[in-house]
């Protein structure tokens, strides 16, 4: 097993009486694509937010390269090499695609010309090159998802947190994005991705963690997780696994 790049350990997040994340641990080995799946409201985005520093956990810790970063603000974590995308896209609407990406690139490139050049290189990688001069506000859903990805990539992260970057895309757009994400991992970036599009997670992730009701209920390789009765029940309701088994025998 590769060395751990990051680790969420025993994370609990409460919103008033609601326990959104309940003692969840997710280790992220370096160089992998790790999937985080689970039904709506399972707490996936909230867990992500604790890793990126946008949400303080009530308990638990976040480690990155062995150091405890639980108390670091988001911009410091970005500087360490953690980048996130937002499930609800957050473009800089009044800026062009190029300017959007350049804000990310400025994290490692002080000079304007350097940052713009880096932004264009990133746009190439995610297929935004033809749209560089358009205002971000004019992009389609697929374009905005790509922009989220491009901005995060432009910060030259070591750990990339992708929150449903495939949601809202049509099947052909999804097919286009899968190699893009794989190429990012092959370029040395570790990826932790939340995804509802099963076909994509199954194709991409080496390891999958399943969150339901705030708890990690299963983990393992894609095949193993897909067969896990607890996972099937979490998605389809109590007793579903038994019914499916019965159906298979009939």
């Amino acid at each position: 097993m590769a060395e751990l790049l990051a680790e969420a350990e025993g994370i609990t997040v409460r919103f008033g009486g609601l326990v959104a994340v309940n003692d969840a641990s997710v280790p992220v080995p370096e160089g992998c694509i790790v999937g985080l799946i689970g039904p709506n409201g399972a707490g996936k985005t909230t867990l992500f937010a604790t890793i990126a520093g946008f949400q303080k956990p009530n308990a638990g810790s976040i480690r990155f390269r062995g150091a405890d970063i639980t108390r670091l603000p988001p911009h410091r974590r970005a500087a360490l090499g953690i980048a996130r995308t937002f499930q609800i896209v957050q473009p800089f609407a009044g800026l062009t695609v190029r300017e959007n990406i350049a804000v990310g690139a400025h994290l490692r490139h002080a000079g304007r010309a350097d940052a713009l050049a880096a932004a264009e290189a990133v746009a190439d990688r995610v297929g935004l090159a033809p749209l560089l001069n358009l205002p971000a506000a004019s992009l389609t859903v697929a374009g905005r998802k790509r922009l989220e990805l491009a901005r995060a990539l432009a910060t030259e992260p070591q750990l990339l947190l992708l929150d449903e970057v495939l949601a809202g895309l049509n099947p052909s757009e999804i097919r286009d994005m899968i190699p893009v994400i794989r190429a990012i991992r092959d370029g040395g970036v570790t990826v932790l991705m939340i995804e509802h599009v099963m076909q994509a997670v199954m194709a991409l992730a080496e390891e999958i963690h399943v969150l339901a009701g705030g708890r990690i209920i299963a983990r393992g390789g894609p095949e193993q997780v897909a067969r896990d009765p607890a996972v099937v029940e979490a998605y389809l309701g109590h007793g579903a696994a038994a019914r499916l088994q019965g159906g298979a025998h009939a």
Partner: protein, 319 residues
């Protein structure tokens, strides 16, 4: 390399030539006041236009610059130039202090606007009762024309002085626009969370912006004091200058280098016109400004600069 500064320098040079060809005091006085308003507006624009933090109380910086230059000379006998510099620094420090209190508490949007308005009003009330600032009677800078006293006898010199101040401020803004700080400042305006996720230290960016903004607008106040040589709380800290500072930027083109200058020229022309037509009817100026503001917000949200850009045929429709 320095291409981006060229247009600003050219326009400044042209404006500097005006006193050489125009001999009318009316015109020069008009321009002097317009440039002073443009300077105050350039400060507001850096924070409000680029950074998206709308202040309704930039009078707090204008007045502090004005009172600093007056009080330091009159009460403490400090040289006018040194007092002028101190006024700018004080404006920047006050900006930092106000930023520290408001931005750290997470105040944004209308809350930030209201708190800045409150700061300006508190300053106005303090200045109207504090003996050091001359309380209700105000403070008078004794007339002593000369270079060392920063009191220019000839109209042209005062004009060149405020033009130089405005030029420096515009060059600072232009330089910021093409640098990392500028990109981060605009990112903070557009979406704070997204900026933060990309490694932008949002608080630091806002503090730097409000310090620069406060310093620039304070320089306009200091110039006001040195030009009119009399201050009272209503002149220095009154809402009029808070309104003018934001109007010049909004009318001219918010978040652009040229906006405050264009807006100040247009607004100053309008207010002169208003005086001619309506005499000294109280409040007429404000009514006029209100109407202009509504028209701009409705029909030209990006101000004069935005109108000009939309009229110009698109160059190179790339992409």
């Amino acid at each position: 390399m320095r291409d981006h500064l060229a247009p600003v320098l050219i326009v400044l040079a042209l404006l500097a030539g005006v006193p050489l060809v125009v001999d009318s005091n009316v015109v020069l006085n008009f321009l002097k006041v317009a440039l002073m308003l443009a300077l105050a507006g350039t400060g507001w624009n850096l924070l409000g236009g680029y950074g998206g933090q709308f202040s309704f109380g930039h009078a707090v910086f204008f007045g502090t610059g004005a009172y600093a230059v007056a009080v330091l000379q009159v009460r403490f006998g400090i040289n006018a130039w040194a007092a002028f510099g101190a006024g700018i620094v004080l404006g920047a420090v006050l900006g930092l202090a106000i930023g520290w209190l408001t931005f750290r508490a997470g105040l944004r949007g209308s809350y930030f606007a209201l708190v800045t308005l409150a700061f300006a009003e508190v300053a106005r009330i303090i200045a109207s009762v504090w003996p050091l600032t001359g309380a209700g009677a105000g403070i008078l800078i004794p007339l002593r024309e000369g270079f060392l006293t920063l009191q220019f006898g000839s109209r042209a010199e005062g004009y060149w002085f405020v033009l130089a101040l405005l030029g420096i401020a515009m060059l600072i803004v232009r330089a910021i626009e093409v640098r990392r700080f500028g990109a981060q400042l605009v990112a903070v305006r557009e979406n704070e969370d997204a900026a933060r996720a990309l490694g932008v230290d949002v608080l630091r960016v806002k503090l730097l912006a409000i310090a620069l903004s406060g310093g620039i607008t304070a320089s306009a106040g200091a110039f006001y004091a040195q030009t009119f040589l009399y201050l009272d709380a209503g002149l220095a800290y009154g809402p009029w200058i808070s309104v003018e500072a934001l109007l010049t930027a909004i009318v001219g083109g918010i978040g652009t280098v040229w906006g405050p200058l264009l807006g100040a020229l247009v607004l100053q022309a309008l207010s002169e016109l208003g005086k001619h037509l309506g005499g000294d009817a109280p409040g007429l100026g404000l009514v006029l400004f209100g109407a202009v503001l509504i028209l701009v917000v409705r029909f030209a949200p990006n101000g004069i600069v935005g109108l000009a850009r939309s009229l110009r045929p698109r160059r190179l429709a790339r992409g």
